[in-house]
């Protein structure tokens, strides 16, 4: 499939380029600008060099948020990816139930994020929420607004509730694209269910799973609204993830310099890790 060399194609890309540049470059320049300057709140700015970057990178607060962010992201990846694959594997391939399953499963994906947070807040409240009340009734001392452990449990459960369907739908899309002949051949070759999964289904799902891991990694790293509405970052700072911390600094305290420096570091971490994920997965593919 040779594509034709044609520089005029640039004209087709111009509208996109203009809009995205407007939205990405100008704000990014603003951020870079703030990140290297110092202000005393009277609209005068001084060159600050890499001071803010040093401050952010050395601050314990940033380390703590980053650590929480990492734990959160890797926990939800470790739960959502295997769970999503398992559910996709047990879903029917054809029949009247397929669209019903798909529609119901996609439902959480289209609920505004703060409604997700609010819904889980109501659902998990120990006095009036179904989950909170039930957990307490069967003997757990559960209160996510007071106990950090419970807050984490609720936050992760909420994310699993919210996003596992994305993994299910992607994995399912990969599964249904496998021609019947593969299953027939495996049956004839006497393959056991695990061998079918290991040698047919998993390899064929690899590409969509790469997309799933990447999307879930990126989105969970950027998550803000749902945990903010659920716990407000608390109790204390126990569920303050990177975005929540950033917004606190930028819009709450209006510390533009540190906020900007942190933004850039944050963005670069996501870019770098996405790139690493992508290259590692693609290299395995090529081997």
């Amino acid at each position: 499939m040779g594509k034709i060399e044609n520089q005029k194609a640039w004209f087709f890309v111009l509208p996109v380029l203009f809009l995205v540049a407007f939205n990405a470059l100008i704000p990014l320049m603003t951020v870079v600008n703030y990140s290297v300057q110092e202000t005393f709140g009277d609209n005068t700015f001084f060159w600050a060099g890499l001071m803010w970057f040093e401050e952010v990178l050395l601050s314990e607060r940033f380390h703590a948020s980053l650590m929480r962010q990492m734990i959160f992201t890797f926990s939800i990846l470790a739960i959502e990816i295997p769970l999503g694959v398992a559910i996709a594997l047990t879903m029917p391939r054809k029949g009247p139930w397929v669209p019903v399953c798909l529609v119901l499963m996609a439902l959480p994906l289209l609920i505004p994020w703060n409604v997700v947070g609010a819904m889980w807040n109501i659902f998990a409240l120990p006095d009036i929420g179904l989950l909170g009340r039930t957990l307490n009734a069967i003997g757990f001392d559960y209160n996510f607004t007071r106990q950090p452990g419970d807050a984490w449990f609720t936050m992760i459960l909420m994310d699993v509730w919210h996003w596992t369907s994305l993994v299910v739908l992607l994995a399912y899309a990969g599964l249904v694209s496998i021609p019947d002949a593969y299953y027939q051949a495996a049956k004839i070759d006497g393959a056991k269910p695990f061998a079918i999964f290991r040698y047919i289904q998993l390899p064929k799902m690899k590409r969509v799973l790469t997309i799933a891991v990447l999307l879930r990694f990126m989105d969970s790293f950027m998550i803000y609204t749902e945990p903010f509405v659920l716990t407000g970052g608390g109790p204390g700072n126990s569920t303050t993830l990177l975005s929540i911390d950033l917004v606190k600094i930028a819009l709450g305290q209006f510390d533009l310099g540190p906020a900007a420096a942190m933004s850039l570091i944050y963005f670069l971490i996501i870019l770098a890790m996405s790139w690493v994920f992508y290259t590692v997965m693609m290299r395995n593919e090529a081997k």
Partner: protein, 357 residues
């Protein structure tokens, strides 16, 4: 290796079939001998894949039974039937090496590793894959992958029958011939019963000892390539097999003599024909020749087909084709043609008229 018997086999995809048209496969009784090479030939949608899936056990027939060496296997799962199948599109386990692909069916059955190794190397040698044994199967060309599929069937010593479902569909034309003769050679070596499904007459006729020709879910003829050529049991067989196909001309029979366009045509079986049905006379272009007397025709086209020339002629709005050797003289416009009597036959409602009834 096994003898395969199909007894009163019928299949419908509908839950409550009533009329014959509801059946994807009409009643079928066949005996396939142990170690034979058979082909199922017919156009797309004729039911050959349905039949194949019934034999392999991917589909359970709605009526009738399948016997392998007189043992009823109708309700058995594919892996219990000890069969192997090569699919239309190459099925290989992408993440495995060629070696592991070939070893897969044996390992699944718990064969000890030294035995696996011995069999894999033996088969790899047979299908010319020894060089690539350690390569990833995903990197092979389509014909290489089809060889692996075939190899996965051959490694097993317990295989009753190997089935091929249009295995050359995605193979480059210049490799088709090569793979086909390889298949033939392998069959002679391993003597496993093989069933080859195709819509390509060349593939069927070169591969098989016996060809089953199917049309609309019905078997129209089972025979050797020579029988199919010389005595087509149905005008469909005459037309579908041979290039160009058999000439089929409407005729009427009076007093044991066939007439086409009012002129008498000599046939070997017109005496048995009964009136009241749609009668046709069939003769292959190979058995038509120019002559002094006979049917007066008008020549419309001459095309060169290598060692032969195909001459298109017309009579009364019907086309009659004949083959003449390369270099033979062809009359200008008007000519007479005659048919070889013992290869000219009358068909009644499409079926060959015989003396029996």
């Amino acid at each position: 290796m096994a003898k395969i018997t199909l007894k009163g086999l019928r299949h419908s995809y509908m839950p409550n079939p009533s009329k014959p048209a509801d059946y994807a496969l009409q009643e079928l009784n066949v005996d396939w001998e142990d170690g034979g090479a058979y082909a199922l030939l017919g156009p797309s949608g004729c039911g050959k894949t349905t039949l194949l899936n019934i034999i392999s056990g991917l589909l359970t027939p709605s009526h009738g039974e399948i016997l392998f060496d007189d043992e009823d296997v109708t309700r058995m799962q594919p892996d219990e039937r000890h069969i192997a199948q090569v699919f239309q599109f190459p099925v290989v386990y992408d993440t495995m090496t060629v070696y592991d692909n070939l070893a897969f069916p044996l390992r699944n059955r718990g064969v000890p590793e030294p035995e696996v190794d011995k069999r894999v190397r033996e088969i790899a040698d047979m299908i010319d894959l020894t060089e690539t044994l350690q390569n990833r199967a995903a990197g092979l060309t389509a014909d290489g992958k089809q060889k692996i599929s075939l190899g996965r069937g051959l490694v097993r010593s317990d295989v009753n029958v190997i089935m091929f479902d249009e295995p050359l569909t995605v193979i480059d034309p210049h490799l088709k011939w090569q793979l086909r003769s390889k298949l033939k050679e392998l069959h002679q070596r391993v003597k496993t019963t093989m069933i080859y499904v195709t819509h390509d007459q060349t593939e069927a006729l070169t591969f098989a000892d016996k060809v089953v020709v199917m049309k609309d879910g019905q078997v129209v003829q089972i025979g050797t390539p020579v029988e199919l050529f010389e005595r087509p049991q149905h005008t469909f067989v005459g037309h579908f097999i041979g290039s160009p196909g058999m000439n089929v001309l409407p005729c009427e029979v009076r007093g044991g003599q066939a007439f086409f366009e009012g002129e008498p045509v000599a046939t070997w079986n017109a005496v048995h024909a009964k009136e009241g049905a749609k009668l046709e006379v069939g003769v292959r272009p190979e058995f038509v020749s120019f002559s002094e007397k006979g049917l007066a025709v008008e020549i419309t086209k001459v095309s060169d087909a290598g060692r032969f020339q195909i001459v298109d002629t017309r009579k009364g709005g019907r086309s009659i084709k004949l083959l003449v050797p390369d270099g033979a003289e062809i009359p200008e416009k008007h000519a007479h043609v005659s048919f070889k009597t013992d290869h000219t036959q009358v068909y009644s409602d499409g079926w060959l008229v015989t003396g029996g009834e």
